[in-house]
Symmetry: C2
Subunit: 324 residues, 2 copies
């Protein structure tokens, strides 16, 4: 399949989306200090990052607000405290999870909000519910994407139908999400082709959100990019659930657009990321994550194994293959 761009040139349609607070929040219950979030905001803006995702728009009717830091809920006041009127070139994103948000109550008119982009996370069987949120947010004036999670478990015919439905919606972008870190680059190429075919027909863009279970999150992200995907998710030091994500510092070293600058991120990392690791917050590749990735399973058993510091890899592998 045809490649877009080359190793020395750059494509202006490429956008980098920092998801450190949102996906990283899944490993520390969204308990970031204000200093961390403010410094990340400044570092991202200086590094040329195009969007910064602040967290989830989760409903407080569903989640106990004492059990999580405020970025689980991303209230307008929280974001404003960090970004003020956001006088940077960077846009602000949040994620709304199908079935876990009260969007009609919690999402206000774009004109009154610091948020630019609402990313709707959905499994393939809840696309109609996702499109309800997309329509609502689009009508309020937001950019929107549909992020189809756990795509390694979906069938081709389902994906085709889902893409056609999203194509006919007002969503601006469609995301390939490899929640289980199970996909190989060859599969990413096939999905990219499939997503792009629909996206181009309907004038939308395609994004990718990769997980690092098999140490392929960076490889899969640049493979998707090479074949035409334009929105690229990354997190500082790959901070994110389980094995984590494509790291911003990997991606910025690859991208050739001179607007991107790795230096503000290196400065941020040596202070704030070292602090957060000292607090014992853990993520990143290990053998249990590799094994759930290889076998295309949800990482939950590997998350438990990591917490318990299990090194009985063979038993873990046998349990994994026994479970279903």
């Amino acid at each position: 399949m045809a490649k877009k761009g080359s190793l020395l040139s750059f494509r202006p349609d490429i956008k980098v989306v920092d998801a450190t607070i949102r996906d990283g929040g899944l490993v520390n219950d969204f308990r970031f200090t204000d200093e961390f979030v403010k410094e990340l905001y400044r570092a991202n803006a200086a590094a040329g990052i195009d969007y910064m995702e602040f967290g989830y728009k989760a409903s407080k009717d569903i989640f106990d607000e004492n059990a999580f830091g405020e970025w689980k809920f991303c209230e307008e006041d929280s974001i404003r405290r960090i970004v003020g009127d956001n006088d940077t070139d960077m846009k602000i994103a949040v994620m709304a999870d199908v079935g876990r948000c009260n969007y009609k109550r919690d999402i206000i008119n774009k004109a009154d909000s610091a948020i630019d982009l609402i990313r709707v996370a959905t499994y393939i069987n809840t696309i109609p519910a996702a499109l309800k949120i997309v329509e609502y947010c689009h009508n309020l004036g937001y950019e929107t994407t549909v992020n189809i999670m756990a795509i390694s478990n979906a069938r081709e015919t389902e994906i085709s139908e889902a893409l056609e439905m999203i194509g006919n919606s007002p969503a601006d972008g469609i995301y390939i999400v490899d929640s289980y870190g199970a996909l190989y680059m060859e599969e990413i190429e096939v999905l990219t082709e499939k997503y792009l075919e629909t996206a181009e027909k309907f004038g939308k863009y395609v994004g990718i959100h990769a997980h690092n279970n098999q140490q392929l999150s960076f490889a899969n992200t640049i493979t998707a990019l090479t074949h035409g995907v334009s929105y690229l998710d990354a997190t500082v030091c790959g901070m994110g659930r389980g094995a984590g994500n494509c790291a911003s510092e990997q991606l910025l070293g690859f991208l050739k657009n001179p607007k991107y600058d790795i230096i503000p991120l290196l400065k941020f990392m040596e202070k704030q990321m070292e602090l957060i690791k000292e607090q014992g917050v853990e993520w990143g590749y290990n053998i249990p994550y590799l094994l759930t990735g290889q076998t295309n399973r949800h990482p939950r058993s590997a998350i438990s194994a990591t917490k318990e510091k299990r090194t009985d890899y063979l038993n873990f592998y046998l349990e994994l293959n026994d479970k279903d």
Copy 2:
């Protein structure tokens, strides 16, 4: 460029070469216990690994034998103590470094040796010296490969000339070696095509040895494989210099030939690899390695930074760009 094979089938020309003792020896001065080497030998044989590399054939005139474990020198007696008459399907390999071995003295007739394959490591400017060793070893009855190191620093015209020279030699295989972990998959595709063109003309195979500086060693290995490379280097837990290598457990999870079995490796890892990590032996991806990989530098400055536990990433990056 055309792909060979598919994700569900397997190519019988694929061979997995375990380089744990040889490349891993670079991080512990080749000081492995006999138990480690014996259990690795058994695990590899049971896992279907095709070749196990035991270490270097280094000259004791050049290297102090008290400063290293015995696998730096791979004497016949050392190997025999582990493998006896090697009544497995797995072949035995060693590496001979141009300028660091006394091959005429130290390499005996194949008929009297436990070794099957001698891999000659060379920089591109010492190919003629490498081919002298290849001819000598070939005439003694060994399989041979030429492993051109640091290929990310070589020019296309040099590579073409080197390949033609190797093509006309009795070497059985030619290796792509990304010593600096600097190459992206697109570059691996181009090199694969280039190497294969010559290799196929002369009836030789192509191999790949990748480093994990940018977390691309597994990605680059399967990209090379997908495009026709057949000899794949891997090490258990990626143990190897600096950021390490493609991990055997990653690769065996990808390969579809039913002769490969990850289980013996998982058992080996949970005992012997955990022990070696407890001893404080260190390798694997970190930010300094990422930065030397991105900038296509020898990892030596990152190795020092790792030893010193430096986290002043920005200074490290500035030093890296200042140095030459």
